[in-house]
Symmetry: C2
């Protein structure tokens, strides 16, 4: 095993941060500067990141945008990575032409490029010893986040990463067996028995057993579909985010 | 400058590969194994990757899926990263419940998680000295790619990465000034003059001047809107991909 791969395999999400050691804005700028050299579609750079530091600002963004979840309220910095159609569209306008990206294709490109940018930042931050956590709440509260960060029309929050020096060992999640996600040549669709086997170790983990018991559900799958990600919530949040996408001038 | 950041800053996209040195499937599996430890939403792992190796298979996929562009036809391996709603949905079904992710929110999660997975793979491959290139053609030809790779219902191609040992120095793209994408505290919307200044170095680069001249256009922005990414094409490809998304059981 190559040492760098070992680092990537043993990486962990960190949700508690050590405020006794500060994070200089210059360090964040240095990491963002390196991260943005990751690939993007046609070099259009359809993204921006807004960095929130300072206790009061973080508290307000955590409250208004992230349901005060501990990884947000306890962060040393919050980075809001945004789909940014505005800069490119304004540049086209300045030159007397019009961007043609206000559609599903443009949206998918921008989401991919924003995500690549965010993930490269996360990797670089982790390589520096920082802890990070993706917050799942950004699309739910895109409007409130946009107001708080003064996002103008055409700039849409997509991903928030919380950042800090680790104050805990972190959370290393089990993954499905490699063969579940990696296919050579053709997609190998498992039989029902094979599929059950793929999920067995996950279902039998102490964490999963605790989830099932605490929630009084018949299976781990039910915890996902009835507690963590129920259809009704996903549809509500789909409608909320779709409105924000449309307000950003993107017709999907 | 930290050496690891220097590596990330100087990274380059590589489109020509040295076939005199082979890539073992075991190496690809090792890199995928490390890449999939990147974060994902709720540990649902809504992605798969199909690896294409072998001259005939690569030639067929390049022809049917990627307009035979050189980085695809000349690759030593092609990795097709897919939105995979199927595995999770089938597992829910096996347990007598139903996934609630066939909507915009589920789609956005899966696109982000698939992209994080792909980018982590790209980073790991580059750290090993391999060359990579994201192909922009995957969403255009999702149906043909799905047929070629036996993708079942619920599995949707999103990203293709071409892979090989570098046979060229690679292509290091200029980026806009850091301040264009990085904002502290609030989004700082530039004035028109500031915006023009942000794009000046890009517009004055030899590559941009050549693009403008070769295409006989009044500005670089026109090259983007009329040659590289015209609205009509983006809308056509939006409709094509939307159909594939719907066929995958996702209502966006």
């Amino acid at each position: 095993m190559n040492p760098i791969e070992d680092f990537f395999i043993s990486r962990k999400t960190v949700r508690k941060y050590d405020h006794s050691k500060s994070i200089e804005p210059a360090l964040i700028a240095e990491l963002v500067n390196a991260a943005r050299m990751a690939p993007n579609t046609g070099n259009m750079q359809l993204y921006s990141v807004v960095v929130t530091t300072g206790a009061d600002e973080i508290a307000a963004l955590a409250r208004e945008g992230h349901f005060n979840q501990p990884a947000s309220a306890g962060a040393q910095a919050l980075l809001t990575f945004c789909v940014d159609m505005r800069r490119f569209a304004r540049w086209c306008g300045l030159n007397g032409t019009a961007s043609g990206l206000g559609n599903l294709q443009g949206f998918v490109w921008s989401v991919m490029d924003t995500t690549i940018f965010a993930q490269q930042f996360v990797t670089l931050a982790e390589l520096r010893g920082l802890g990070t956590c993706y917050l799942g709440t950004t699309t739910y509260n895109a409007e409130a986040i946009g107001r708080r960060l003064d996002l103008p029309q055409g700039v849409l929050p997509l991903i928030t990463v919380s950042l800090g020096w680790p104050a805990e060992e972190g959370d290393r999640k089990q993954r499905l067996p490699l063969g579940a996600v990696l296919h050579f040549g053709r997609y190998a669709d498992p039989t029902d028995d094979e599929l059950a086997a793929i999920y067995r170790a996950t279902e039998e983990s102490p964490e999963a057993r605790r989830f099932v018991e605490e929630n009084g559900k018949p299976s781990l799958a039910h915890v996902f579909t009835e507690v963590r990600y129920p259809k009704e919530s996903a549809e509500t949040f789909s409608n909320i985010y779709k409105e924000e996408i449309i307000k950003a001038g993107i017709k999907i």
